[in-house]
Symmetry: C2
Subunit: 455 residues, 2 copies
């Protein structure tokens, strides 16, 4: 038979088993955390009719889309989880209860130019809260609480959630006479971190055509922290001069106040007037999340408040707030930066049972007993040498090996070897199960990520 | 703005939130169960190079494949999880430890003719154990143990795992002179249940051209149970006459013996010489799983032993054994037959907190406390009437509602209403959390499926 050289497409993440254990652990933690906040799990098809997915049309995204026909149908692979959500909510409007809270963790597709750390197939982990007609500001404060809890549960500590409000920016731009160019201004100040204040000033005046005074006023406000001013204090000076701005200031202050009550520690968030988020879509609070030790990788969790989720599919006004974690890229970065926690042993089993007799009955029974107790158990009955079987346990990082020989079977005991300490005990099956379970439960509490000590 | 009518493609399952809760619960139970047996989780891309996926080439499957080009690349969506596994094992052979045990739950794609209960995008939930060069028979006996445990954990009781061995069939066909037509004979007897013994006999003689005597001998053996003979007893009469048959009989007897030790009760399995499984691929034990009350839907979990997983991609001999559950179709059938357990409340939250004061601080704090205790909690702070908020809890089946008014806040208490019993208590937050957690843990132990009482 001719052999075809096996390969995986470039831009598609395919992990070795040990790495996959970390990835699955992270996904499980995301599901658990999101669930604690009362979100429904949701799953939508990976393929949609192109007319649905491309309702918004045009732009950079369209070029990247995996689009094809099957029979007569023009199909596309989803490129995010937001458009399918909009379709879902519009389609099922009458059957949903609002506010509708859902999370979804799934693969999306973008045919980007292949490069290190960029993926064409990647997981997004999204949550959204959708109101019917209205949605209270408290939801915008709960979201950073969820972001904080999520990353803390994964094992991260040194991250900061940046918060801004689009009404603050839009209102201030109006106030200084740059209201009509708000979109352009927003996209320009988004570049501040990358290109610096001077270049942003140049762009605002020369490309966008703002008077230098206006451009300076904008830069002055958004970089107020550099002069030791808190953004909320700086903003108070402008209160009463523009309705949108006033509303934005109130929202921002409210979100900040509640956020502390939601348990986000001071060191994990900052009000930052420089973040704008490119998308026109957002209308209120916006979020970005940065790793303090790796600002260069950009935001690992972003989102914001929007006023109209599903305008392409329905007349209903559906405001909402949501965030998205690009999980595949995040995992790539964490692994690349050696953040995977070595204390989490990426093993498929807690126990390996080695039967030493012809009759496998007692070994099978003990395996069943351990599994009933919730202990992940493998039987190793292959025709291999003892040394090879121990090396199998070693390679897979299985923490306990159980020997069942004639003596053990006669005495109704099992011999348990702790592969870490080397300790070996011959005890009753029940005692062995209890002892193993205790250590296994400790091991399960280990988070998948650990930050290297600061240098 | 023009509105595009939202729709989901036909043949693609998209569940309402309550139904999705059941589906997620089933997937979680599969992951847990498979993990107990020491399988690595695995995830492979949904898209592969067509040359890889279609290495085997031709046949019915190829027509159904979602195949397209992106740039210069000829791509296909995977149509099962076995071919990607073969590629993965061949590609990573040097980095894997054998026997390699993996499970994978993921979507696959087949452009079948759309009809009720048939899906073009559907989940498969697979496990496989792959050996390097050899694999002990014990693995073939452990698999039914896993099938049993899986369906029992989901809540099913009235199912039967049918077991046969391809060596028994092949050996017997050789013995009666039908060895050269084994494939055709196998595909014909696979139809026995559908078309009956008489028609099978006709096909065997007229279409396949077996002498009537031979065809009768085959039918006699495989239907021996109808004459009150156990298949293993019936087979013993032929021992010593054909090497393959002898090996098959020994394997089948061994699997049956160990299977009982793996805890599969007598009423949940049967040795059934009529099941052949169409695929040429299988070489030893084969499995099918039937719902006793719904034989018409066919097998809900099938698989078997194969000698060569990845012959298209590598010279290495990689025998294995595996099974697959077609989860989407299974879910469709269970829902259709009203098997979803009404005792499992498909709610996104255990508690809904209704703050009754302007200051949301105490409500937020209590929400945080409940979430820390692992209780799924929603805050309802929308500007709605009390009655509407209670109706929200009702519609979403949230079992507990907590009221936090001025009195409660002053006294450091919370008022908890049990929405099922109607009972209402004003108690300390800690007591409330403990009481709720206890009931929530009971509710979590409820399986997603319950069989209606037999009629």
């Amino acid at each position: 038979m001719d052999i075809i050289k096996p390969r995986t497409l470039s831009g598609f993440m395919e992990l070795l088993p040990e790495k996959q254990v970390y990835f699955e652990n992270m996904m499980a933690k995301l599901r658990e955390t999101y669930s604690l906040y009362g979100f429904f799990p949701l799953d939508t098809p990976q393929i949609e009719a192109s007319e649905i997915l491309l309702a918004k049309g045009g732009g950079e995204t369209e070029k990247q889309i995996y689009r094809f026909t099957k029979g007569d149908t023009d199909l596309s692979l989803r490129f995010d989880l937001t458009v399918p959500l909009a379709k879902y909510v519009a389609l099922n409007y009458g059957k949903l209860t609002f506010p509708f809270r859902r999370f979804q963790i799934g693969k999306v597709y973008r045919g980007e130019r292949a490069q290190r750390g960029r993926f064409r197939e990647f997981y997004q982990a999204d949550i959204d809260i959708i109101g019917d007609g209205s949605l209270d500001i408290i939801n915008e404060a709960e979201i950073p609480g969820i972001i904080y809890k999520t990353f803390k549960t994964l094992g991260l500590k040194r991250f900061v959630i940046r918060i801004n409000n689009r009404k603050v920016l839009n209102g201030f731009f109006e106030l200084v006479g740059a209201g009509e160019k708000a979109g352009d201004v927003m996209r320009t100040i988004d570049k501040l971190e990358k290109i610096g204040a001077e270049k942003v000033l140049n762009l605002l005046t020369e490309e966008i055509g703002l008077p230098e005074e206006t451009a300076k006023a904008i830069l002055d406000l958004i970089t107020c922290q550099e002069r030791g001013l808190s953004p909320l204090d700086a903003l108070e000076a402008y209160r009463g001069k523009n309705e949108t701005l006033d509303l934005g200031i109130t929202e921002l202050a409210t979100v900040a106040r509640y956020m502390a009550q939601f348990g986000v520690p001071q060191e994990n968030y900052v009000i930052d007037l420089t973040i704008a988020r490119g998308l026109d879509y957002y209308t209120g609070t916006v979020y970005e999340t940065m790793l303090l030790d790796h600002p260069e990788i950009g935001s690992i969790c972003s989102g914001g408040r929007y006023d109209n989720l599903a305008g392409y599919y329905t007349d209903k006004q559906l405001p909402g707030v949501g965030i998205s974690i690009g999980l595949t890229r995040l995992f790539f970065v964490l692994e690349d930066q050696k953040y995977l926690n070595p204390a989490l042993k990426p093993t498929p089993a807690d126990v390996l049972i080695l039967p030493m007799t012809e009759d496998l009955g007692p070994a099978i029974s003990f395996a069943t007993q351990l599994r009933e107790a919730g202990i992940r158990t493998q039987l190793h009955c292959e025709k291999k040498k003892f040394k090879q079987k121990m090396s199998y346990a070693d390679k897979l990082d299985i923490p306990f090996v159980v020997f069942l020989g004639e003596d053990e079977i006669r005495d109704g005991k099992v011999t348990v070897k702790d592969m870490v300490s080397g300790e070996q005990l011959t005890i009753s099956p029940a005692m062995a199960a209890a002892g193993i379970l205790e250590k296994v439960n400790l091991a399960r509490a280990v988070p998948p990520i650990s930050e290297p000590a600061a240098e």
